[in-house]
Symmetry: C2
Subunit: 444 residues, 2 copies
């Protein structure tokens, strides 16, 4: 056991009962998403006690949430019980509670169940929340897919509307589904919805005409998938259109109502109304609850201000990573709110805490861009993979190659062997049973 | 197409628009559980139009609900999308709606969405609901496991309580889980809970002592598993006790409160209080909503009075099957509310409707008892299998043989290849990973 001799012990409060009982410093990690779990895994191997805190008792693999929402996967296939992490990590503990706030001066986390967690060092990895950008009606009348509950709510709403449309139809049309936001989440959701409609309309929904399927993808910019090479963006739009998605670019959502969205053409300024049954909001993420509860002086654009080391600006022992932190990327702008910056940030913060224990100063975080990818549907995806052997140059993939790469990468990245096997089984089943109609996963 | 010439066409109302459009008689099946799906599958092969009606858009494999409640399976593993039935059955349609009532005289089903379904012949297979037997507080403070939502609510409640107990413990005990009812559902639930505690306490729930695990199974009678051979009942009780379940016989639940149940010893009359965190109600099923809405003259003990043909007493074209019907068994008492009577009843009712189309009178229903089984846990189950080759004599199995038989039978009985594969995968995973701690399925 290392003797406490670093800055992580300064300012420890008198109420720090737990830390007084144990001789090892106590690190608290807030949030068990990509960043928090990555930090906890590194810390658990070191001579510190680590407590991982999350309001849910499971980790959610967010990149596949849209497949739960569209009936392709079980909720349980992408949820990993956090206590499984404890089996082989005797120094790691888990606390299932909501975070009410952090007393940075007193080095104590305040929990929603009335408890407190004194800490020597802290990692804030509480993620973000859906950003509705203040669009009137968006909170009430559109659905985001940021949590498992969100995904299951979209699934229930969508299948409920299909049932209603089928019962009412006898030749009538189906209400349109509008997906707002042409980033990876919007593209993947729209593609999956179009596939579901193509497989199910006229087959298991007898009254619904496949020609009447309307999946509309609305994007403010003049292209999909910002950040991708323009050729890949154009390919994604063309593939989505070929699969029946109406890709509508250069349109801003002005208002979301019950049963309609109001759109404004950003080039001409003209407005139009679009009747719809379901609006899926995939336009971006903003401040999460926890960050919102922290002192405003620490917050910038809904994310915690951090120094290049990922230390929260002005604090000595408190790190912030992932969606919760406004960590500057190589171009000076905050890093994108994706899995890789969170994972790398979590590992970096954990490593700096361990350096501090050895009396060494923290190093700056350097994000290694591994690339970006998005899937469109069966046999179609786009990917830009940064290859270290080519000096970090991006290799661009699309079509079947990119799709297989996407499948493999997502299987590997899932937590837990059971979940990996279950996702593989469900994908394989759907792939083989393709021509026999939809094989959706429902229930609960 | 058969010409309409039988009793199913008498009394067809003028509002029967759909039937006027089509030349085939219209059969409506209310409820898509074991009985309704069995009836629909037979009817779909015949020259009739069949509409299956259910408030949910999926069928639930109820015998495995307790495994969803205890984290062994996904909700989606035991839920089968009803529209999948339509893919290969052009004459079958599905309507997702709540049944408000039946106008037997006007031969019309009234739906919750305001619609009506005129029919020539009807099969009521709407199942039952949990029977709390009027025990004070049972509705509010105990949880049944009759639907998927019930199972997911029990799972959320249970894991939530384990999290709280772990956070609060530091040496304290855990709240007891009380399972009310020593039938197959109660035995299986108690066994699964004891296994979960044994695997998880002290391992992933660090503060919880396996010796403090309390799973209490309360049964009014002086033995478990009424209907089984007494030797199998005793074996089940002994196996449950060996696995840590407190099996308490001859006790009636007098009242369920928040955090406690009041029990009365039926032999001595003395009362006792049992503190607990969760009460799972597995004591029986009673009248369902639909049956409750029907004319009371047709109802007996929460189930529809039926003639030996399964025709609803006094009606000519309306059948009732499964939990919804009080069909007399060989001993004169109503058949047990299990899958087999429902499946056989559904097939029988369908066959009688087809006989009526050919102008032949209905035959009486004769239930063929295939046996009963219940699982206790890993390598332990009990089964009484009626073997036709032995003149219907019961072969009694217990232990590993019965357990393997139970596993095989439940895999075969599941609807849908994907669900079968997924359940098999999850069971195999849990079996192999046994010593490595709990592999629970959570999320959503």
């Amino acid at each position: 056991v290392l003797a406490p001799r670093s800055s992580v012990f300064r300012g420890r409060s008198r109420t720090d009962r737990v830390a007084l009982v144990h001789s090892e410093p106590h690190v608290v990690v807030l949030g068990a998403g990509f960043g928090g779990v990555a930090a906890a895994e590194v810390l658990a191997e070191a001579p510190v006690r680590t407590t991982l805190v999350d309001v849910r008792y499971y980790n959610t693999f967010q990149p596949l949430l849209y497949q739960v929402a569209t009936g392709g996967l079980n909720a349980g296939d992408i949820a990993y019980p956090l206590r499984n992490l404890l089996r082989t990590r005797p120094r790691l503990d888990f606390r299932c509670a909501r975070v009410e706030g952090v007393d940075f001066a007193g080095k104590t986390v305040l929990l929603g169940d009335g408890g407190t967690l004194p800490y020597d060092s802290l990692v804030v990895a509480t993620g973000a929340a859906t950003n509705f950008f203040g669009v009137p009606g968006a909170t009430e009348h559109s659905r985001a897919i940021y949590t498992l509950d969100d995904a299951l709510a979209v699934r229930a709403e969508m299948f409920g509307q299909l049932e209603k449309a089928d019962a009412a139809a006898l030749g009538g049309g189906t209400p349109a589904v509008v997906v707002v936001g042409g980033g990876p989440t919007g593209v993947e959701t729209a593609g999956a919805l179009a596939e579901l409609h193509a497989m199910a309309f006229g087959k298991v929904y007898r009254s619904l005409d496949p020609a009447m399927s309307r999946v509309v993808l609305v994007e403010r910019r003049d292209g999909l998938l910002a950040g991708f090479d323009p050729r890949l963006s154009r390919y994604a739009a063309a593939e989505l259109r070929r699969r029946g998605v109406e890709v509508r670019l250069g349109l801003a959502v002005e208002e979301v109502g019950a049963g309609a969205v109001r759109l404004r053409d950003l080039a001409t300024g003209t407005e139009q109304q679009l009747a719809c049954g379901l609006v899926v909001w995939a336009a971006g993420v903003g401040a999460g609850d926890v960050v919102g509860s922290l002192p405003p002086t620490l917050v910038d654009g809904g994310r915690l201000r951090v120094e290049p080391t990922l230390l929260v600006a002005g604090l000595g022992d408190d790190f912030a990573v992932g969606d919760a932190a406004a960590a500057p990327g190589p171009d000076g702008r905050p890093l994108p709110q994706l899995a890789q910056p969170a994972i790398q940030g979590g590992r970096h913060a954990a490593a700096q805490i361990l350096r501090a224990l050895e009396g060494r100063p923290p190093l700056p975080f350097s994000y290694r861009d591994k690339g970006i990818m998005a899937t469109i549907g069966r046999h179609a995806a786009v990917a830009e993979v940064r290859v270290p052997a080519l000096g970090g140059r991006a290799v661009r993939l699309r079509g079947r190659t990119a799709w297989l790469a996407w499948l493999g990468l997502h299987i590997v990245a899932l937590l837990g062997g059971r979940n990996r096997s279950a996702v593989l089984l469900n994908w394989a089943w759907r792939y083989v049973a393709w021509r026999r109609g939809p094989r959706v996963i429902v229930g609960g």
